[in-house]
């Protein structure tokens, strides 16, 4: 295993700036997640680390040594491709065995067989081993693709949205399996996803990427509790954070278009116009609540219930544990957990 570093990486495709001065460091044995919306440059980052794409500027280091001159084969990475990239004329078994059969490795066939079968077991594809890959379902292909990576012991795993095509149950199971595998083997992993749950549950650290730029790097806790911009705040957390435009006046914050007024936090310097971010779980529905709003919509999720409250021209999303007695159209009282409010400038940057 190894650590990997990116320093000031930029990449252009024609006029399109896919990566703009991207730098981060993945430590040995770390589970590092790259989180970003579609088109953010996640795949491009992985391809540059793997050596499939060449950056315009910047340096990639593996184990503190520049790796830019190395071809993909010598970087010794394992790559789970977003589009699976299985060898269509071969069976699942041969696909999994392919990286082990490389003449550069000289692994005896008996060991190959054992490793392939172990991997298939973990990914629950043992029953598919003799099938050709061309006729597998998307989820099956995706698991074979993961298998082709974890059958090896590379210096780093690069996984490009490896769980995107699985159903919820299998995704959860494999999330746990991959996390467990990573922890027990201590493998360095760079995991790409646009799914915030995956990012928060699996990562040691998360880097949030937006339009080719790193917006924030930090632990899941940092990202969730101290989002650097409104973009990050919206990216993580489900349901999405409430972002309310507000104006500061005489030590109070008046939420635009709404009767809600909060005392301004004295410990921070707040501008006259700002955006207030409140997580849904911090909009607490209680009879003693300071504010009131009309219930617009109720989404029971079992463990919790999502309630949309209209207060003036603003709609706030709130989550309440369990089932609620409220009905659509009811008037509900709620309060806002003041010490957990996020403040952003009108440019979206955290204050």
């Amino acid at each position: 295993m190894a650590d990997v570093g990116l320093q000031h990486i930029s990449k252009r495709f024609g006029q399109n700036l896919a990566l703009d001065d991207v730098s981060f460091e993945i430590k040995d044995g770390e589970f590092f997640v790259l989180l970003g919306p579609t088109g953010a440059g996640k795949t491009t980052t992985l391809r540059i680390i793997a050596g499939l794409e060449r950056q315009d500027q910047g340096v990639v280091t593996i184990d503190d040594e520049p790796a830019d001159h190395l071809p993909p084969a010598e970087r010794d990475v394992a790559f789970v491709f977003q589009q699976y990239s299985l060898y269509p004329t071969m069976t699942v078994y041969d696909n999994l065995a392919f990286p082990l059969r490389s003449p550069l490795r000289r692994i005896p066939e008996a060991e190959i067989k054992q490793r392939v079968e172990e991997t298939a077991e973990k990914l629950r594809i043992s029953h598919l081993l003799q099938r050709k890959t061309a006729h597998l379902s998307g989820g099956e292909m995706q698991r074979v693709s993961i298998g082709r990576a974890i059958v090896r012991h590379p210096r780093i795993f690069l996984m490009d949205e490896p769980l995107s095509n699985l159903d919820a149950k299998l995704r959860e199971a494999l999330r746990i399996e991959l996390s467990h595998l990573q922890k027990t083997q201590g493998s360095t992993t760079l995991f790409v996803t646009h799914d915030q749950t995956e990012a928060l549950t699996m990562a040691d650290r998360i880097a949030v990427l937006d339009q080719g730029r790193i917006v924030q790097i930090g632990s899941p806790y940092d990202i969730y509790d101290r989002p650097a911009t409104t973009f990050v705040a919206q990216m993580v957390g489900s349901p999405k954070i409430n972002l309310l435009p507000a104006a500061r006046e005489n030590g109070n914050l008046h939420i635009t278009d709404s009767p809600i007024t909060l005392p301004a936090d004295a410990s921070v310097e707040l501008p006259a116009a700002l955006v207030v971010g409140v997580r849904p779980e911090d909009v607490v529905i209680e009879d003693s609540g300071q504010f009131s709003g009309q219930v617009m919509l109720i989404e029971p999720l079992g463990m919790e219930t999502v309630i949309y409250l209209k207060s003036g021209g603003q709609t706030l999303v709130s989550t309440t544990p369990g089932i609620t007695r409220l009905r659509i159209g009811n008037e509900a009282r709620f309060s806002i957990a003041r010490q957990r409010i996020h403040y952003f400038g009108s440019d979206g940057v955290r204050i």
Binding site: P72, F79, S85, Y87, P88, P99, R105
Partner: protein, 313 residues
């Protein structure tokens, strides 16, 4: 569904609306309209001759003699299979097919591998390479005759022989068949190349990327990725070329006329002689044609079986 309806001003004028019925064709009518002429043509110039010649192959008959066919049963077939001369022609044909198809496959596939990489002018070069395929075989035969000429031909010159001292390609019993093979390969390798190029360009790049990450050597990549993926199209190319090579006639006529002796007398050439020269032996020629047909069908079937096996994997 195609519905043809010609709508024009007449729609709005009830007085002449009865003309509309003539302009409206139902789907079924349209189908018949396209189908029947084609069928008629097919039956009159393909199906009927096919069965009529099958009948003629069991008779003694000459197309220029003003006499009706006389039924002789299997006599024509017996004659042909017992004719040691014809076996020589079959052997010539077999050698020719084997040589020309395997050389075309190797050269065509090789060219495709080279031209697969896009470089400057690769499009122009591809087009230039395809030109021989577009020429008429008789013309090709005639000008290669000049190229092979021992006293002023450029072929021997390029091989480095002084004028007039090189081998006589078309007049030598050993070399004449090779000469035909060379011209056929020159003419038809581009065809194999074209199909292989189509097969190669259909292989997605990401397979090679995955293989590279999996540390497969380029030879291993060729065997495990390139070849299996191109195989179906390559096999189709080989199938086409085999069938065509069996029927090679015009090229030989242009180059050697079957000579010297019977060194380049292929079955198709002899068939022509039998049918249209000298005695116009239509009955026996039909029988020979059917024997060739059966051989071609048999060989094609082997290919097609193999092709299906590859496709199913």
């Amino acid at each position: 569904m195609i519905r043809t309806k010609v709508r024009d001003a007449s729609d709005k004028q009830p007085a002449i609306s009865r003309y509309r019925s003539r302009h409206v064709l139902s789907d079924a009518a349209l189908k018949r309209l396209f189908l029947w002429p084609t069928l008629a043509l097919l039956i009159s110039i393909n199906i009927f001759p096919l069965f009529y010649s099958l009948y003629l192959s069991f008779t003694t008959y000459s197309a220029i003699a003003n006499q009706p066919p006389v039924w002789v049963g299997l006599q024509n077939y017996r004659d042909i299979l017992n004719d040691s001369q014809l076996w020589i022609y079959f052997r010539n044909t077999g050698r020719f097919v084997l040589l020309t198809v395997s050389l075309q496959t190797i050269i065509g596939f090789g060219l495709a591998l080279l031209l697969r990489e896009k470089f400057r002018a690769s499009g122009v070069i591809t087009t230039l390479i395809l030109i021989p395929m577009m020429l008429s075989p008789v013309v090709v035969g005639l000008f290669w005759k000049l190229i092979f000429d021992p006293s002023y031909g450029i072929f021997n010159y390029l091989l480095g022989y002084p004028a007039g001292r090189g081998p006589e390609w078309l007049a030598s019993k050993e070399l004449a068949l090779w000469a035909v093979v060379i011209v056929d390969v020159w003419m038809w390798s581009p065809f194999v190349m074209l199909l292989c190029l189509a097969g190669l360009s259909a292989i997605p790049d990401y397979l090679y990327e995955a293989a590279e990450i999996d540390r497969a050597s380029s030879l291993y990549q060729f065997w495990r990725i390139t070849l299996p993926q191109v195989a179906p199209l390559l096999l189709i190319a080989v199938l086409f070329r085999t069938i065509e090579a069996f029927k090679t006639f015009d090229l030989v006529m242009g180059l050697t006329g079957g000579g010297p002796g019977d060194a380049t007398e292929l079955v198709a050439v002899n068939l022509y002689r039998l049918a249209f020269l000298g005695q116009w032996n239509t009955g026996k020629a039909s029988a020979l044609a059917y024997i060739v047909l059966v051989i071609i069908i048999a060989v094609s079937n082997i290919y097609i079986k193999y092709l299906n096996r590859i496709k199913e994997g």
